[in-house]
């Protein structure tokens, strides 16, 4: 009886290990987990940005729901990926509407990408380096493996 229990437990552990391995592999194929930032639930974060028709020296964010003190970051569009950072604004935890992010330099691409990053390291200092993604405290927020970001057309 005791022997069966031991064998049963061993079989269960092996089965669990196999299942976990297969599941992990399938998940790894489906998503890029390496670059997942700070994870939040969908209802606790929101970023709404309309296409911009202004002068091009700022980006207007219609609504942002920050789960914690955060950064609004504006990137140039680099083939659909965030490129050079051209604007940065710290927002406090909570919901904000009509937020203007001033840009440091003129927009040279048709689109910009606006992303919401956490402010988790030294507060008030934007600490994010794409090349040291894992160790950067101010990573972008993610919901269901998707970055909380919006691609916005900018009138030139």
């Amino acid at each position: 009886m005791r022997r069966f229990a031991i064998y049963g437990a061993a079989a269960l552990v092996i089965a669990l290990a196999v299942w976990l391995t297969l599941w992990t592999l399938s998940q790894a194929r489906a998503n890029d987990f390496m670059m997942v930032g700070v994870v939040v639930a969908g209802e606790n974060v929101a970023l709404e940005v309309e296409d911009q028709a202004g002068s091009g020296d700022s980006i207007a964010v219609s609504r942002v729901l920050a789960p914690d003190d955060s950064w609004l970051v504006v990137h140039l569009d680099d083939d659909g990926m965030p490129g050079k950072r051209v604007g940065l604004l710290r927002v406090e935890e909570g919901e904000h509407e009509g937020v203007i992010v001033n840009l440091d330099e003129p927009v040279t691409t048709p689109n910009v990408i606006v992303a919401l990053h956490a402010d988790r390291g030294q507060r008030g200092t934007f600490e994010f380096d794409m090349d040291a993604f894992m160790r950067s405290p101010d990573k972008p927020y993610f919901v269901d493996f998707e970055e909380v970001a919006a691609a916005v057309a900018v009138a030139q």
Binding site: T24, V40, G121
Partner: protein, 866 residues
């Protein structure tokens, strides 16, 4: 040898010798401290500490120092010495002082000799305890205490408080120690079960900790999935990188503080005694990894964590210790086998009725009935019946031995076909089996001199390793970025230095080195016991391997020791052959001389009726005389004939011829006229020649020593294959030791083989004394090796076994030291992660024990006839 040391130090001082139980020692450095401290004391001639048995033997001049003075000196050196009395009493210190009792506790949870020291020191501090001796090999603690001051429960409580398990063992010597061993075995099994549960706990947490934080894609997927679950369940924002750290923290903490608690306990107890041990290294190494990770989780959040290092390290060490315990258990198989031999019940005749009773209840003097196939329950002498008895389990002799009335039977041997009754002579702890078990246990717990080497190195290891780890850490921290910028593996210099320092701390643990000698000694002595070769100590086992000269006593060792009549011849026709022999034998009946016994036996065997003797007188050094049938008969040597004025010159050539054949010739004269000669000879044992040949093949010089005249001696020696120039003839018993010393003076390491009774001084003088034919008297004091039976081939076995054991120990040293000397630079150069170092450390111990277990395959080269 202490005796030798005493003579070397001060030949003219009358030395006393005292034995102390010493507590507080962990390794050879403690041994060296005590020995050096005492060596400086005036009046101390020699001091010898045995770390395994925790005994200190001191030769001293009582005019200058006494036992309390020696104990005080040891105490000043930081240890506790408890006088055990003289060296012999140290072996049999059952008699304790007024108001004192002794108890044997089975101990569990010891990992190395420092644990032994911790328990001894703990017990020694309990008020009322006068002595506590822990045997690491047997896992027992023998405590002498005052029951009026302290209870057994308090003793056990003390051991448990020190972090170990303890159970009361019944006297292990009783009835082969079976019941006592059962209790201990249960305790050991409980301990093993506990360790196994800890292993399951630590492995089931450490493996996921390792996989989820170190192995892609698990390390990528699992933290994100877990962070998502946390965010969806509890809200808030979760950085997978931090979640991974929390997973590590949650998984590693129980491992660190539940499974790893034993290392902290060991560390703490060692610290209290100002010592370092394996626990010190493991506790330091895992703590460095764990607490750094804790800091990196909550404060230095940008730094990586290494929870899995601490958890895996603890898991590997527990796993290794379990494997080691399992292997170590097998090193004691021989003794378990011996214990299993003891009979459980005996059929005794009480009140005229045969009754089955437990063997413990058999009393000396009981008449015991043994039926075919039965085990002989205790030792005794046959009073009725006869049979053949299989004694192979105790003597290694595969041929059943014929037993008749008056013969001795040994407990635990198996009766074959016949039935017999015997009177019990030795029961309980006095039986040969109980004595063998005790002797083997003591030998297994004793320390071979070669172990000093390991102890010496081990003693410096722990502090040296901690220092080395600190130096390594500093070098990597300050010079790493300059010297090995590419070897930082993306870590900051601090993190890399921490990892490398921890690996060094762990890889350098000298566990394997500490196991190299005692495990081989355990297997070697056990293997000896299986073959009827009882090796009394590790020192004896080691000394034997150096033997390059062996001295056999002739009578009773090379030969049967029982002379028999080979010829009797009348001088002339005055008396007939049978008449002359009848008169001589009649006269000899009154003599107690062994040669006389041979003549009387021959007369009995040939049916010669012997008349009475009057006026019998022994003439010392000459022979005997008396009146037989009214005739004056003298019988003796040439000197007697000369004294009586009897001319034997016509027969001188014949006499010399017989003497040349190794025979002793006795001359008889009747009524003043030469009557005849009787030749008596001691015959060579069947296996003597084979053993001598084999010994010479092994490069051992073989000598024979005897009191016989040279002619006789050389004749026997020639039969045995010993050259004439290796015959030490005409040596009086009291001069045998001097002859052995002469050989030693030539630089030879001499083994003396004798019967252990007449040859005591020579056996003591030799580098190794081998006493033969112990039978039930295995407890004989003389000789480092006792052979159960009268077979010279066992001398060969003893030397072969000793050589095999020492070879194994040396190989173990190479393995253990090679592992450390290779492992440390590899770790220090940053090529070894700490958890792998932990695994390697554990496996090295296992491999050394396994190497010792290979000794179990030892087989004597001279196989006994099947």
């Amino acid at each position: 040898m202490e005796n030798t040391m005493v003579r070397e130090h001060s030949p003219d001082v009358s030395a006393s010798e005292a034995v102390f139980g010493v507590t507080g020692m962990t390794c050879a450095s403690c041994v060296a401290v005590i020995e050096k401290t005492l060596a400086r004391m005036p009046g101390v001639l020699s001091a010898n500490v045995n770390l395994a048995s925790e005994r200190l033997t001191v030769s001293y001049d009582p005019a200058q120092i006494d036992e309390p003075g020696i104990a005080a000196a040891v105490k000043a050196a930081g240890y506790v010495a408890t006088p055990l009395g003289g060296p012999s009493s140290a072996q049999t210190h059952g008699a304790t002082g007024t108001g004192s009792a002794r108890i044997t506790l089975g101990i569990t949870g010891m990992t190395c000799s420092s644990c032994q020291a911790v328990i001894e020191r703990t017990l020694a501090k309990v008020p009322g305890v006068s002595e506590a001796v822990v045997n690491l090999a047997a896992e027992t603690a023998t405590v002498t205490f005052d029951p009026g001051v302290v209870s057994v429960d308090e003793l056990i409580g003390g051991v448990i408080d020190a972090g170990y398990g303890a159970v009361v063992l019944p006297d292990a010597e009783e009835a082969g120690g079976e019941s006592g061993r059962d209790v201990q075995r249960e305790a050991q099994e409980r301990h093993t079960r506990h360790q196994r549960n800890l292993l399951i706990l630590s492995a089931s947490l450490a493996i996921p900790a390792f996989v989820f934080t170190m192995v892609p894609p698990f390390m990528d997927v699992i933290p994100v999935v877990f962070a998502t679950w946390l965010a969806n369940t509890f809200g808030g924002a979760w950085d997978p990188h931090m979640v991974m750290k929390y997973i590590g923290l949650v998984l590693a903490t129980p491992v660190q503080f539940i499974a790893g608690a034993q290392f902290y306990r060991g560390f703490w107890h060692a610290i209290k005694q100002r010592m370092g041990n394996m626990d010190t290294l493991i506790a330091l190494g895992t703590s460095a990894a764990y607490f750094y990770s804790l800091a990196a989780t909550f404060w230095l959040v940008e730094e990586p964590v290494f929870y899995e290092v601490a958890a895996m390290l603890i898991t590997f060490v527990i796993f290794g210790k379990l494997l080691e315990a399992r292997a170590k258990g097998r090193t004691g198989d021989a003794i378990k086998k011996l214990m299993g031999l003891a009979a459980k019940t005996a059929r005794v005749v009480r009140g005229g009725v045969e009754t089955d009773i437990p063997v413990e209840q058999v009393a000396a003097g009981d008449v015991v009935v043994v039926r075919p196939g039965d085990k002989v329950p205790v030792d005794g002498v046959i009073v009725e019946g006869s049979s053949s008895v299989d004694e192979s389990m105790l003597t290694g002799e595969s041929i059943p031995v014929e037993k008749h009335e008056g013969d001795t039977v040994i407990g635990a041997t198996i009766n074959k076909l016949g039935s017999f009754k015997f009177r019990a002579t030795k029961v309980g702890k006095d039986t040969a089996l109980a004595q063998i078990i005790k002797l083997v246990e003591e030998a297994q717990g004793s320390k071979a001199p070669i172990q000093r080497f390991a102890d010496y190195i081990s003693s410096y290891f722990v502090p040296a390793v901690v220092l080395l780890a600190i130096v390594t850490f500093a070098v990597w921290l300050f010079l790493g970025p300059t010297l090995f910028p590419d070897a930082l593996d993306g870590f900051t210099p601090f993190v890399k230095a921490l990892l490398v320092g921890t690996a060094v701390l762990v890889i350098a643990c000298p566990c394997a080195l500490g196991l190299a000698t005692p495990t081989a000694i355990m297997v070697g002595t056990g293997k000896g016991a299986e073959n009827g070769v009882l090796i009394k100590s590790g020192e004896a086992l080691e000394t034997t391997h150096k033997t390059n000269a062996i001295v056999f006593d002739k009578t009773g060792t090379l030969t049967h020791g029982k002379p028999v009549v080979t010829e009797y011849e009348p001088f002339g026709d005055a008396l007939g052959r049978e008449e002359f022999f009848r008169l001589a034998a009649a006269l000899e009946r009154s003599s107690e001389h062994p040669l006389a016994e041979a003549i009387v036996n021959h007369a009995k065997e040939t049916g010669v009726e012997l008349p009475g003797v009057s006026g019998f007188a022994a003439v010392p050094g000459h022979g005997v005389e008396g009146l037989v049938d009214g005739r004056s008969v003298v019988l003796g040597n040439r000197k007697l004939m000369g004294r009586e004025g009897i001319d034997i010159s016509p027969w001188a050539a014949r006499i010399e011829q017989l003497e040349g054949e190794g025979k002793t010739v006795m001359l008889t004269a009747v009524d003043g006229a030469p009557a005849g000669l009787i030749a008596v000879a001691d015959t060579l044992k069947e296996n003597s020649r084979e053993a001598v040949e084999r010994l010479r093949e092994m490069g051992v010089e073989v000598y024979m020593i005897t009191g016989d005249n040279r002619l006789t001696a050389e004749a026997i020696a020639a039969q045995a294959g010993i050259p004439a120039d290796h015959v030490l003839a005409e040596v009086l018993p009291e001069h045998k030791a001097a002859e052995v010393a002469k050989l030693q003076g030539r630089g030879l390491s001499v083994a003396m083989v004798g019967d252990g009774i007449n040859d005591t001084p020579a056996l003591a003088q030799a580098d190794i004394g081998i006493a033969m034919g112990a039978g039930t008297d295995v407890a004989m004091e003389t000789g480092g090796i006792v052979l159960m039976k009268d077979d010279l081939r066992d001398v060969v076995t003893a030397i072969e076994l000793s050589r095999a054991t020492i070879r194994r120990i040396r190989w173990n040293f190479v393995w253990a030291l090679g592992y450390n000397s290779l492992g440390i630079p590899i770790a220090a150069l940053g090529f070894l992660r700490p958890e792998l170092a932990g695994g390697a450390m554990a496996l090295s111990s296992v491999s050394v024990v396994t190497s010792s277990l290979l000794l179990r395959r030892f087989k004597p080269s001279l196989r006994k006839a099947a």
